[in-house]
Symmetry: C2
Subunit: 154 residues, 2 copies
DNA sequence: TTTATGTAGTTGATGTTTCATTGATTATAC
DNA sequence: GTATAATCAATGAAACATCAACTACATAAA
């Protein structure tokens, strides 16, 4: 076994359904957000992270927290700034650095968008699953993240 | 409970780690493909689906199979055609339609890329997980897909 | 201190994905 | 049989993401 040309039936089915689910679910959540708010899914991710940190964060910390490359975040902050959802601020203690800060408008849009989004996450995902499945998914995700971290360090 | 402003701790941790894992894993698999072959991850997905179907498929069927919007696929096929990985062909039985067909070059690139990719999927993901976790993930994904399908029909 | 190395963040170019619209054809309803 | 609706696919514009290069500052070593 372990034919490296393909995956086995079981492996393949699991892998494929996870990928497919992720693709569809993310698409649906993005669509749901766009229909019911001014925020895209990426906007939403940024704003949630920021408001969970008192509304301001160093850019590199935010990037690490949400798993984005710094360039992607920088560009996205640029676009969000134009729409007055966030602003940039200088950092005194490290003059290379900068903060992103949620604006009043950013908070408001997030508050309008959040209930619908989290309801959709429950309705489409969480509510479908047994407690065992939830635990399995969490453990599996964390194990994979640990594996990825090891890979990156070497 | 069921506060719709946010997710509970357990819910949130599960949801967040799954999202984060997916982001990182996909990024790493994409990087791995780009380093070791001429194919991007999306290229790879298209070519796998095509070669599993005798090398040719109607465009809308391919889109459904891999879960892409047809517009995305159309653009992607355009770019892949320029690189001679696939070609388009007319469809006689339905004159609105078209086929995508893998070229010889497309098959060759896929054969070169596949072993490294599937090895990485095993090494980074499948091999980390217990059989129970694999089953749970598969069942959960399929349940969510079913839920999504219901949502779309209504 | 000078020099080297690393880190934070931005930028521009390029590549990709989404969204809304359109043309062409096929399927359904009247 | 014609009008109506639905489907297949392509397109252009805009939003988004990636990559390589670069500035500016910080840290460590010589």
């Amino acid at each position: 076994m372990a034919n490296s040309r393909t995956l086995s039936d079981t492996e393949g089915r699991t892998w494929r359904s996870l990928q497919f689910m992720q693709l569809r679910l993310t698409a649906e959540l993005g669509r749901q957000l766009s229909e019911n708010s001014e925020l895209s899914y990426p906007d939403f991710i940024v704003l949630v992270a920021l408001t969970n940190a008192d509304g301001r964060m160093r850019i590199f910390e935010l990037a690490n927290h949400i798993g984005w490359e710094k360039s992607r975040l920088s560009h996205h902050i640029g676009r969000m700034s134009l729409r007055r959802l966030v602003t940039r601020e200088k950092c005194d203690s490290d003059r290379r650095g900068a903060f992103v800060v949620v604006t009043k408008r950013g908070r408001k849009e997030l508050e309008l968008a959040a209930p619908g989004h989290f309801d959709a996450v429950r309705r489409l995902f969480l509510d479908q699953l047994t407690p065992d499945q939830l635990v399995a998914i969490r453990d599996a995700s964390e194990a994979t993240l640990e594996r990825l971290a090891v890979t990156e360090r070497s």
